[in-house]
């Protein structure tokens, strides 16, 4: 692939809900398909035989942990993609990575050496969060398109470095916000944009796990290897639960509310897993947006009744999103309710027995998503490769990634200070930690 081509002019793209940009062809395809069929690249071709040698994309990977291996498998399902380099400081991971590629793929212990190789068009960065800034900026600076895992960066400075390098280099950066490419999320956004649930006033986001989040350490591995394998538990590398669990949901809230929150209050602690970890085992945030909307976010590691879900509350209805589907709930009509008149007319006065007084609603909703979906990570990879081939800007580009990454960092700053922190204050006073 020729890496010198500039991205397609943003003016020819259509703004989407992420506050980023989206290619017109994607937008039209999305609207026509209803379920957001993403371009597979090369007109839906799934066979690599039909792909011209010049359209093959060679990818190097920095960070071959469990996430990196998962994404490598997805990348290898995209027609016309080769993985030509593996980089990790843990030699055991290189062996695991070669098992994934099914080949003796070139291996590197130093990412700078890999970036000097001349056989790569793109780099996938799936290293600990605290290393994203170094790795993503180096990959962009060396002329590669980059797929950088979420969150964009651990701190405000990290996010600024990555965004600025993406703009300076002119290279494609797609941040690993894969639910941007999930058909049911796209359809939910479409419905919300069309006013189908009235004015959205609040989103409640949960990612509740019952899991100590620890990885086993090989016998005799020592503290250094333990920190390396369990990097998510240590502040030097990790953005904690807001980053590791909350990123996708915070990104979605920013998209729905049209920007970043004006202020965040947060709380949390190490209250159950008192095992030497440094990051909180439960965190909660209330974020206020400019339009008077609220995001309530809760991420815990001691109970999974709620699982991972988001509830979008509008004056005329609600949408519940999970990792597999979106479900629409009608809001029952009352004379003094906030339901917009057009929704009342549209649904011919909904008075059904769906909700009972102040009791929680436990009945069925109607699913807005039809058809079966491919893995969202695969969809994100397909879109990334298509962006490289078509020289177009990803939906989850550096702008969407910066908004999400900085919002996560803002949540962590509010958690650290134990008080409300405004975005203006945060942007004016860069994080020291």
């Amino acid at each position: 692939m020729d890496k010198s081509n500039a991205l397609a002019d943003e003016a020819s793209a259509v703004a989407d809900n992420t506050g980023s940009t989206m290619d017109r062809r994607d937008f039209i395809g999305l609207a026509a398909a209803g379920v957001g069929a993403l371009a597979l690249g090369l007109d839906g071709c799934r066979s690599p035989k039909a792909i011209a040698p010049s359209d093959w994309v060679n990818v190097g990977v920095i960070g071959i942990g469990s996430r990196g291996q998962h994404m490598m498998r997805q990348m290898l399902r995209v027609p016309g993609v080769r993985i030509t380099g593996l980089c990790d400081i843990n030699e055991a991971r290189i062996a695991e990575g070669r098992k994934v590629t099914g080949a003796q793929t070139a291996a590197y212990g130093d990412y700078r050496k890999m970036l000097e190789a001349h056989d790569m068009d793109a780099v996938m960065v799936s290293t600990p969060l605290g290393l994203h800034a170094d790795h993503v900026t180096a990959a962009l600076d060396s002329g590669h398109a980059v797929y950088g895992e979420k969150s964009m960066g651990r701190t405000l400075e990290d996010c600024n470095r990555i965004r600025d390098m993406a703009r300076h280099s002119g290279k494609i950066l797609q941040v690993g916000l894969q639910y941007t490419y999930a058909p049911w999320y796209q359809e939910a956004q479409n419905r919300i944009r069309q006013g189908k649930i009235g004015k959205v006033t609040q989103i409640n986001s949960y990612w509740h796990r019952n899991n100590n989040w620890r990885r086993p350490v090989p016998q005799g591995g020592g503290a250094e290897l333990e920190h390396l394998l369990n990097w998510r538990l240590y502040k030097q590398w990790s953005g904690g639960l807001f980053a590791e669990l909350g990123s996708h949901q915070i990104n979605f809230a920013n998209a729905i509310f049209g920007g970043m929150p004006e202020s965040v209050m947060a709380s949390g602690g190490i209250d159950y897993w008192k095992d030497g970890r440094e990051i909180e085992d439960n965190v909660h945030a209330i974020a206020r947006y400019a339009g008077g909307q609220t995001l309530q976010a809760s991420y815990i590691t001691t109970n999974r009744l709620e699982g991972a879900q988001e509830r979008v509350y509008g004056t005329g209805g609600s949408i519940e999103l999970t990792h597999t589907e979106a479900t629409y709930f009608e809001e029952p009509w009352y004379p003094n309710s906030a339901i917009p008149p057009e929704i009342t007319i549209q649904h011919k006065l909904i008075t059904g027995p769906t909700y009972s007084a102040e009791q929680p609603y436990h009945g069925k909703g109607s699913s807005p998503i039809k058809g079966k979906a491919d893995d969202v990570d695969l969809k994100a990879c397909e879109s990334f490769i298509d962006c490289i081939r078509q020289h177009r800007r990803p939906a989850a580009d550096e702008n969407a990634g910066w908004s999400q990454g900085v919002t996560v960092a803002l949540c962590n700053r509010a958690l650290e200070l134990g008080r409300k922190v405004t975005l203006a204050e945060f942007l004016g006073a860069p994080a020291a930690s």
Partner: protein
């Protein structure tokens, strides 16, 4: 700092008999009395219950979680019931033309194809629609009518799945085909879970419900025995087997079957047969147990050996290195057993002839 121990009270003793119900519901392993207690946990996945027994008291929780995460990963890749799995994606698109998949999926499909070829099609990952036509998938089995059976048979045939290793593509040569890796993926999940333990330097054993069982290494479980379930009497084992570094898998009528006019119809359906065989044969295969170098191979071969029976199965087994098999047949006097590979088959002790 790494206080991650599971208490003695949480340790399941392992034995030939289930400590709760006293029955033997599948292969069970029996550590020697001198072995120190192992940490164990069970996890529901792939329609069965996986149990991991590990020798790692210092970080049992993290190890068990890693094992079950890996089993879940295999399920999320190979389950035809999950819309986002790679197998579901292949089922949706492979009839449209060759589609590329990742090396892991391709290698498992190639392994399945190899077993299909060497067993004359007795093992077939396209048999799912036939299983559904018989009602076994919905657990309401019944002899299907001829039309439904013919329709299902037209959508079956491993040779209609074209794999191209040069491009790593899979293509269905006939519309209506559907992959169902239920007879090999559980064994593969055991292999993958054992790799997780080996990577962490942990000794252990994985038991996939009633079907497959294997250990990380021969040194760990070499002198342990596995009880092979009795297909007609759950109160005592059919025999015992020594893993000796191999994996063991059992397939049989215990899992799902029904009887019509003296004939047993099992959920393991022969994809090479056409129509419905009727009449009560003098003896029928009740169960096949296979010892093989890998769990995926043991899993796939136990299905094939069940369908082929002793004579054809023994011939087919000659093409696989390091495999043994034991068949249990219905017999007027109880159960009759036949083995492959002579006295070094690995199944001990049992006496030739009737065990009823």
């Amino acid at each position: 700092m790494l206080e991650d121990q599971i208490s003695e009270a949480e340790v399941d003793p392992c034995g030939a008999r289930c400590p709760r119900c006293g029955e033997i519901s599948g292969p069970r392993f029996n550590p020697p009395p001198a072995a120190r207690p192992l940490c164990s946990r069970s996890h529901r996945a792939m329609g069965t219950e996986f149990t991991a027994y590990i020798d790692a008291p210092e970080q049992a929780r993290a190890c068990l979680q890693a094992v079950f995460d890996e089993i879940d990963r295999v399920e999320e890749t190979f389950s035809r019931f999950l819309a986002s799995s790679e197998i579901s994606r292949i089922n949706r698109h492979a009839a449209d033309g060759p589609m590329v998949t990742d090396p892991e999926v391709f290698q498992l499909l190639a392994a399945a194809e190899d077993v299909s070829r060497k067993t004359g099609g007795a093992f077939d990952i396209t048999v799912g629609k036939l299983t559904r036509a018989w009602g076994f998938a919905s657990r309401q089995p019944e002899i299907p009518d001829a039309q439904a059976l013919a329709a299902a048979e037209s959508c079956v045939g491993w040779s209609n799945v074209e794999l191209d290793p040069a491009w790593r593509t899979v293509q269905f040569l006939r519309p209506g085909l559907e992959l169902d890796l239920g007879a090999i993926a559980k064994g593969y999940a055991v292999d993958c879970a054992l790799d997780v333990l080996r990577s962490a330097g942990i000794h252990g054993l994985i038991d996939a419900g009633s079907s497959s069982i294997a250990a990380t290494d021969e040194g760990f479980a070499g002198d342990w025995t596995v009880s092979v379930a009795n297909p007609v009497d759950s109160s005592r084992p059919l025999c015992e087997a020594q893993l000796g570094g191999r994996a063991l898998s059992t397939s049989g009528v215990r899992e799902q079957s029904f009887v019509r006019n003296g004939r047993i119809y099992s959920h393991l359906i022969d994809p090479t047969a056409h129509g419905v065989e009727t009449g009560a044969p003098a003896r029928q295969v009740l169960q096949a147990t296979v010892l093989a170098p890998s769990s995926l191979l043991a899993d796939a071969l136990s299905t094939a050996m069940f369908l082929l029976g002793h004579e054809k199965g023994s011939a087919a087994l000659e093409q696989f290195q390091g495999c043994s098999a034991l068949w249990a047949y219905s017999d007027p006097e109880g159960i009759a057993c036949q083995d492959h590979n002579g006295p070094k088959h690995g199944f001990l002790p049992w006496k030739e002839g009737n065990h009823g």
